[in-house]
Point group: C2
Chain length 215, copies 2
């Protein structure tokens, strides 16, 4: 697995000790997420749109319907895709040292449309990223539906990751203060599945969904 090579865009200016060039860390951060924030330039202004994505090897597939008009309209253009996990609030003795425990990945590049067989692959990868097991149970898209969605493929050639974990670090003299310090963990959890009011009776919740529910 080749390491992440810093480019002018991915080299970290601030707190470089929080970066990693380990490609497996990039994979973990991307695989753990459900939505990304897609950045692009529209009429000279930056725009940031939340959208669904999935990873297959060194390709990121993006669901292109949301905001795709902007991407389809112009020629191929640079985008930035960011996936962030908020893992905890870091509460220090001084406000200055308050922080956030997080893992984030930033990917730069020019996406290409995924067409033909690759479009179906991309949709499968995006579906399975959000709900593993779902591709095998729901009805697959027909020709007309396939034509109605767009999928973008972005290579993971240019990416950076940044991770902050652990307790706060305070100024030496502040450890004597009578202030509680530590981390308040933040997690994304799944609640009880809510059946569609129009669900036909007798259809049980499938195992790949019930097993995700946080007990």
């Amino acid at each position: 697995m080749n390491p992440l090579s810093p480019t002018a865009r991915t080299r970290l200016g601030r707190l470089p000790e929080r970066s990693s060039t380990d490609r497996s860390v990039l994979y973990e951060i991307l695989d753990d997420g459900m939505i990304c924030h897609l950045g692009l330039i529209v009429d000279g202004s930056p725009r940031v749109i939340p959208t669904a994505y999935g990873r297959l090897d060194d390709t990121l597939y993006l669901h292109g319907s949301t905001g795709a008009s902007s991407l389809r309209a112009g020629p191929s253009q640079d985008i930035c895709v960011t996936v962030t996990h908020l893992d905890g609030l870091v509460l220090a003795r001084s406000l200055f040292h308050h922080s956030i425990n997080y893992r984030s990945a930033i990917v730069y590049g020019t996406p290409r449309p995924a067409d033909g067989d690759e479009k179906l692959t991309g949709l499968r990868v995006i579906t399975e990223q959000l709900t593993p097991g779902q591709w095998d149970v729901a009805r697959h898209p027909d020709r007309k539906e396939l034509a109605g969605v767009s999928v973008l493929a972005l290579s993971l050639d240019e990416a950076s990751v940044k991770v902050r974990q652990g307790p706060p670090g305070d100024e030496e003299e502040d450890y004597a203060l009578d202030v509680w310090a530590g981390v308040l963990p933040v997690t994304q959890t799944f609640g009880a599945p809510a059946p569609d009011p129009l669900l036909r009776p007798g259809i049980p919740i499938p195992g790949h969904i019930t097993q995700r529910v946080t007990s």
Copy 2:
């Protein structure tokens, strides 16, 4: 409270029925979040950075240290700030109608640096957005610490919100399929606070933190 007026940037192309011009919806979405995704243009490329923020009336304060080098370096420039809540995975009978329940706010504008008293106000607002009650217990920044952070102020003049909630909508003929359909709710929850290993004995976890823990 004046409504959100559509501009060329905030007018929604796709699924306009998911938009709202109700400013109170914008406030709710912003007030519910802990991090935003800040989009800016650096050397001609879009860049999306997660960062902390807070809202006071019609001003968004952004913690400017992360990525601030890019913002400080150039002249004042357009940015885009997006806050997204992932509320649920919408599982339909057909893959085409799979969706995500979410609430998102997108704010456009040119931020100005918050200086002097307003810098302190901005830091308070950002701190209280992440951990309400924390400003009153931790040591406040001294002059040197204040100089070491930057705070940006962005007006909520140009913003849009988009919300999707509720069950899936399937094609008429698919309701007969033997496929479970519904929503898997997603929530952000707080775990048990982890005290700093260097915490002096006898300092209890304050009530404003324990009360946030999901029971």
